[in-house]
C-alpha cells in the first residue's frame, strides 16, 4: 500500500469501517444524551473532535517519552486539559451552546473514543498518521451525531437546525426523550450492519 492510500484508509476507516459509534459502539453516552437536536449533536461532535485531535498530537509526540506503566494517567491528564480548554472556550464565546450542552462537555473526558484512539493508535504511530486517524474518527463521530440529531429533531420537534419545517405537525414526543435516542440509534446501527454485510457479500 502506498503511503498516500494508507493515509486515505486511515481517514475513511473512522467514517465507515471503524466508525466509533456505529461499528465500535464507543462513546454511547454523549451520542444518546445530546442528540436531541442537530445543532447540539454537531457542537458535541466538534468539541469531542477538537479534544481527540489535540490529544492525539500530544500523545503521539510524547509516545517515546511516556513510560509504559503510567501511560493511562498521562493520557488522562492530557485529555482532561483539552476538555477543560474546550469547556472554558465554549462558556466564554458561545454561552448559549454551552448552556444547551450542560454537563456533557466536561464528560468528554471519559469518552472512550478518545482514550481508545490514544491507546490503540496515537501511542504507536507517528504524528502525521495520528492526525489523520483523529480527523477520520472525529468526522465519523460528528457525522453520526448530526444524522441522529437531525432524525430526532425532525420527528420529535418538527424542526431542523432550529428552523421550523412543518406548521401543523404532530410531534413524536418520544423521539425527543431518551427512549427515542435508543430506538433511533438501534435502527441506525442495524442499517449500517445490513449495508456492510451486503458490501462484504458483494466482494466475494
Amino acid at each position: 500500500m502506498s503511503d498516500e492510500s494508507s493515509l486515505r484508509f486511515e481517514f475513511i476507516k473512522g467514517i465507515w469501517h471503524e466508525n466509533p459509534v456505529l461499528r465500535q459502539l464507543l462513546g454511547m453516552c454523549p451520542t444518546l444524551a445530546v442528540t436531541t437536536t442537530a445543532l447540539n449533536g454537531f457542537t458535541m461532535g466538534v468539541a469531542t473532535s477538537f479534544v481527540l485531535f489535540s490529544s492525539s498530537i500530544v500523545v503521539s509526540l510524547l509516545r517515546k517519552v511516556i513510560p509504559q506503566q503510567i501511560r493511562i494517567p498521562v493520557y488522562t491528564i492530557i485529555i482532561a486539559t483539552f476538555v477543560t480548554i474546550a469547556d472554558l472556550f465554549l462558556a466564554a464565546e458561545f454561552p448559549e451552546l454551552s448552556k444547551a450542552l450542560g454537563p456533557y462537555v466536561p464528560l468528554i473526558v471519559v469518552n472512550c473514543i478518545i482514550l481508545g484512539r490514544q491507546e490503540i493508535f496515537s501511542s504507536k504511530n507517528p504524528v502525521y498518521k495520528s492526525v489523520v486517524d483523529a480527523l477520520g474518527m472525529g468526522s465519523g463521530f460528528i457525522l453520526t451525531l448530526v444524522i441522529l440529531g437531525s432524525v430526532r429533531e425532525i420527528l420529535g420537534t418538527g424542526s431542523f437546525f432550529n428552523i421550523i419545517l412543518f406548521d401543523n405537525f404532530q410531534k413524536w414526543v418520544i423521539m425527543a426523550l431518551p427512549a427515542g435516542a435508543f430506538i433511533s440509534l438501534g435502527f441506525f446501527v442495524a442499517l449500517v450492519n445490513f449495508v456492510s454485510k451486503k458490501q462484504a457479500t458483494g466482494y466475494k
Partner: protein, 186 residues
C-alpha cells in the same frame, strides 16, 4: 529505582505543563464568562421591568435582591434569582416582583435542562407571559386545563406537568423568603 524516578518525573512534568496551559486559558476565558453571566442577568432585569433605568444590588438577610428604579428614581420593582430542581436538572430563573409585593412582573429562564419539545417550553413567551401580573397570594398554583384559571393560577405545559409544578414550587418557596425579608426591610 531509576524507572520509578522517571515515571514520577514524567507525571509531574505533564501535570505542571497542563496546569500552566490551563491557567493561561482560564485567564483569557474567565472575564468573558463573568461578563456573559452579568449580561444574562442584566437582560433579564430590563425584560422583566421595562421601566427600569438603573438597578441596585442589595443583600438583605440571606437574600440577593436587585432593586430597580425608574427614570425619576422611584422604585419600579424587585428582581431576584430563584433556583431549584426541575424534571431533569436544575432550573435557574429571574423573577420580577411588583413593588407592592402582591403580584409578579414575570419570569425569565436563565438555565435549564428540561426535555426539548416539552419541559423546554418554559422558555417560550406563551408559558412565561402567564406569570405577568400573577397574584402571589395565598400561593401560586398550577392548573391542568385552561378553563376557569384563577388570578393566582397558571396553566401547566401539556406533557410537562412535573416541570410546571417544579417552577411553581420553586417560586412559592423563594417568594416566601423574599417577601418576608422585603417587608421587614421597609
Amino acid at each position: 529505582m531509576k524507572d520509578v524516578i522517571k515515571r514520577i518525573s514524567v507525571l509531574v512534568l505533564v501535570s505542571i505543563f497542563s496546569g500552566l496551559v490551563l491557567s493561561q486559558v482560564y485567564n483569557y476565558a474567565n472575564p468573558n464568562i463573568v461578563e456573559n453571566q452579568k449580561d444574562a442577568i442584566e437582560k433579564a432585569i430590563f425584560n422583566l421591568i421595562p421601566l427600569t433605568v438603573n438597578y441596585e444590588f442589595k443583600k438583605i438577610g440571606n437574600q440577593d435582591i436587585y432593586f430597580c428604579y425608574k427614570k425619576n428614581q422611584d422604585l419600579a420593582g424587585y428582581v431576584f434569582k430563584a433556583q431549584g430542581m426541575g424534571y431533569q436538572g436544575q432550573i435557574t430563573f429571574m423573577v420580577g416582583l411588583n413593588k407592592d409585593l402582591k403580584k409578579l412582573k414575570g419570569i425569565e429562564i436563565l438555565k435549564h435542562s428540561e426535555t426539548p419539545g416539552l419541559g423546554a417550553k418554559i422558555v417560550t413567551d406563551g408559558f412565561r407571559k402567564q406569570f405577568e401580573n400573577l397574584k402571589i397570594y395565598p400561593t401560586i398554583e398550577y392548573a391542568k386545563s385552561s378553563d376557569s384559571l384563577k388570578e393566582n393560577q397558571i396553566q401547566a405545559i401539556t406533557g410537562a406537568t412535573v416541570t410546571s409544578k417544579s417552577i411553581v414550587n420553586i417560586l412559592n418557596t423563594k417568594l416566601k423568603d423574599v417577601v418576608s425579608v422585603l417587608k421587614n426591610y421597609r
